[in-house]
């Protein structure tokens, strides 16, 4: 049942997007996400949409997977559009009972929905094309200047790596325990709410015990290999940004710049 869940949804391919330096990808996504909130014109959105389609194409990742990553926010999207349609004051277009639909409402609703879609597509592009390991490496490298003011960048990255590493393990274990308790006559999907909550105890207690045991074992294994934090630690794969990486970042910045520049031709979110 957990097997089909997409978590850490990295899909390995040999595309240019995959091979970009993770730091460049993280920075690009941050810039684009900021850009999305600065853009007010539909032309700007269109611009970024076309760019995202281009990237999806280059990344060689099936569009279906992007559609899947939209699933969790379908309701959020629907509510956002709905409330903007009906609750924005302005020029009245038509009435649905007590609800008034305004021109401004439609504009704002479409703009917000479009923004959300773009946010999800661009962040999915990052997580679908970057392995969790590369992602945390990139994050650590980007955060390392902040070490000077006491931010434990390496430790943070290590924690994220370990957490990501253990998600599949814990899911697998949860599945196994659920099966074992089901084999003993437990039913996880029936009965009153109270019964279902109670049904979680035989699942959660063994799961937590297992997690603590694993944490303990991992700590011992790391200490046995002389792990003592980030100071003086070298890596097997050093991140190295090439000319093409910088070029990609420049391209992203130009695109965002252009998308913001066309703000002068229409403002849909005012």
């Amino acid at each position: 049942m957990f097997r089909n869940m997409i978590i850490g949804q990295y899909i390995p391919r040999e595309s240019q997007v995959h091979h970009l330096d993770p730091r460049i990808k993280i920075l690009s996504v941050i810039f684009i996400l900021t850009g999305i909130f600065l853009i007010k014109s539909p032309y700007g959105y269109l611009f970024l949409t076309l760019f995202s389609l281009f990237l999806v194409r280059v990344s060689q990742i099936p569009a279906k997977l992007f559609a899947q990553s939209l699933k969790p926010i379908v309701w959020l999207l629907a509510f956002t559009i709905f409330f903007h349609f009906f609750l924005t004051e302005g020029k009245e277009l038509f009435k649905l009972g007590p609800l008034v639909v305004t021109e401004e409402g439609i504009r704002r609703g479409v703009a917000m929905g479009w923004r959300l879609l773009l946010l999800i597509i661009y962040s999915s592009l990052l997580t679908l094309t970057t392995s969790p390991l590369a992602l945390t490496d990139g994050l650590e490298s980007l955060l390392s200047p902040l070490k000077k003011i006491g931010l434990p960048a390496h430790e943070l990255a290590m924690m994220i790596t370990i957490a990501l590493r253990f998600i599949p393990t814990l899911l697998e274990e949860a599945e196994k325990i659920m099966k074992a308790q089901t084999a003993r006559g437990m039913d996880f999907s029936q009965g009153s709410l109270m019964k279902r909550v109670q049904a979680l105890i035989p699942l959660l207690v063994p799961l937590f015990i297992g997690a603590f045991r694993r944490a303990d074992e991992l700590a011992t294994a790391m200490e046995a290999r002389c792990y003592r934090g980030g100071v003086g630690r070298t890596r097997m794969k050093e991140l190295q940004a090439h000319f093409s990486d910088y070029l990609s970042l420049a391209l992203v910045l130009i695109i965002i710049g252009l998308a913001i520049w066309v703000n002068r031709y229409g403002n849909w979110s005012a």
């Binding site: 097997r3 196994k176 074992a180 089901t182 084999a183 006559g185 437990m186 015990i209």
Partner: protein, 287 residues
């Protein structure tokens, strides 16, 4: 009157790019009273196969019948089927969760909706079957027990449901030789004394040769060969091809035969070997 598996195919991550054929057109019948071994390498599909027997996994194709009843039909009471077909997973001690041994063993019977006195009687029986002292352990926390004892408590938890069929997935993993022999002896006792049909999943030929009377060999989701120990072990080449070797004692007996000694061909355990060799030596001297 059996577990009947017909053309069972199971796909993991069906209809995704990660689709894997775990089981490929498996057909198999398990008769009541049997002690059957299912052997295969890690990832061969043996655990996936047995999880179909009590409806924990649904087949992608094919059917499973328990005594003529298709267990995946709508309206079939799976809880009843899971009471009749008990399942002990690998490292069963990891599923313990209650505050006392008694409560944990009682979990299964309680789910069956039995009365309190019936439950406590069953708990007592199950604990004594696995060789634990009811009075001594019933109020202790399962987490205070030793690893071997915890495993026995977990097994008792399934036995307390009084299954007619008992599936065990690598029940001796991580046990010392003493603990292993105790578990295997318990299984033999259940099979002979309590008439429980036992389905033992393992990757160890040594272990399986000690106890089962029929053996099914699985490789990459397919049944490679099945039959009595003698039938299966006579196909040494085939087994080696898929990375399984005969029990060492059987190899030794084969060598002795090749060296011209008069030794029976159906020797699978050290005990049998000792008997056979002694009788051969005596035969030479005294007949």
């Amino acid at each position: 009157m059996s577990i009947l598996v017909e053309n069972l195919t199971h796909l993991y991550s069906e209809n995704t790019p990660l689709e894997v054929v775990a089981l490929d057109e498996i057909s198999l019948e398990i008769e009541p009273g049997e002690f059957i071994g299912i052997i295969g390498q890690t990832g061969s599909g043996k655990s996936t196969l047995v999880q179909h027997f009590n409806g924990l996994l649904k087949p992608s194709q094919g059917k499973i019948y328990l005594e003529g009843q298709d267990i995946n039909l709508k309206g079939v009471n799976l809880r009843l089927i899971r009471q009749r077909i008990g399942m002990i997973f690998q490292y069963p001690e990891q599923q313990l969760f209650e505050e006392t041994v008694f409560a944990d063993v009682a979990f299964g019977p309680r789910n069956l909706g039995l009365k309190e006195d019936e439950i406590s009687q069953r708990v007592e029986e199950a604990l004594s079957l696995v060789g634990l002292d009811f009075i001594q352990v019933k109020d202790r926390s399962p987490f205070q027990l030793s690893g071997g004892q915890r495993r026995r408590v977990a097994i008792a938890g399934v036995l307390a449901m009084k299954p007619d069929y008992l599936i065990l997935d690598e029940p001796t993993a991580n046990l010392d030789p003493g603990g292993r022999d105790e578990i295997l002896a318990l299984l033999e006792q259940l099979n002979r004394g309590e008439k429980v049909t036992i389905i033992l999943v393992s990757h160890s030929m040594e272990e399986i040769a000690q106890v089962v009377n029929r053996l099914v060999v699985i490789h990459q989701g397919k049944i490679i060969t099945a039959g009595s120990l003698f039938d299966v072990f006579s196909q040494e080449g085939k087994l080696e091809e898929i990375g399984l070797s005969l029990p060492q004692i059987t190899i030794l007996m084969h060598r002795l035969r090749q060296a011209g000694k008069q030794i029976a061909a159906d020797i699978f355990t050290p005990e049998q070997a000792v008997k056979e060799i002694i009788s051969r030596i005596r035969g030479k001297n005294y007949v």
